[in-house]
Symmetry: C2
Subunit: 154 residues, 2 copies
């Protein structure tokens, strides 16, 4: 293989439109997509396949509303594992299903986890479970000035 599967790929103006449209409405049909970008269906199909094959599009997914699912509390938790407890803490985070996302980052606070909770006591209970192995710093999300969006493309 000359090129790695996830090589940086040139994304032209049409690909950019495809990504932008699918970012907003991932379930539209190929022909609808083709119509919007002004290409034929086969060409559109080709391009979409290439974007997926190149790994630019990693997945088609849904955005759910945590509140509608009974999670009124969203929190961001910085987690600093106690010395020697990094692995254990990472496993605890991975196994906590209310953690919907967690990044490993530079610095002593090795993890930044996004946590959904049914209530403040529920949140507290989860944080206490970590307390023996890590120091946590928690902030409650009050709003999202920037909702998940695409970066500049191309």
């Amino acid at each position: 293989m000359t090129k790695p599967k996830h090589a940086v790929r040139a994304v032209d103006a049409i690909d950019t439109r495809i990504l932008t449209i699918l970012d907003a409405e991932a379930r539209i049909s190929l022909s609808e997509l083709a119509g919007r970008i002004g290409l034929s269906a086969p060409s559109t199909s080709d391009r979409l396949r290439r974007l997926v094959d190149a790994g630019v599009i990693h997945a088609f997914t849904i955005e759910i509303d945590p509140e509608a699912l009974g999670y009124p509390i969203r929190a961001l938790v910085r987690v600093r594992p106690l010395p020697g407890r990094l692995r254990i803490v990472q496993k605890m985070i991975e196994d906590l299903p209310y953690v919907v996302e967690c990044d490993k980052v530079t610095g002593d606070e090795a993890f930044l986890a996004r946590l959904y909770a049914r209530s403040i006591p529920h949140l507290d209970e989860m944080l206490e479970a970590l307390a023996d192995d890590a120091v946590t710093h928690t902030t409650i999300i009050k709003g999202s000035p920037v909702r998940r969006r695409l970066p500049p493309l191309g």
Copy 2:
């Protein structure tokens, strides 16, 4: 209207299956989805429509690979606006297209932004742009032990 549009909705075991399947593959057809959950196409269509109408499913979207798009650097930036600069800083964050997500949180560090950068100098340049109006604390993402996933449903 008796119920608000985004009321908490009971999500039963079948809805859970629908959400789980679409979270992984949002573009499968209705009939494929119906087949996987063991319901007829019309019932599946009804349920899906209800999940969307109730706001449980907020959007169908794509997950892109930042690296494949030329963003090898992902950073999490905590932003503490200087006194009186909260509004200005929020606007700066919103207007910075490399910020792909930003939450407003409790505490002095009012914002937590997820930033994509083409290089370290590129990252630095963006942080400097904020330096007159805010104190920032930046961590580089080294990995994601928990990739975006659904919380427990039902």
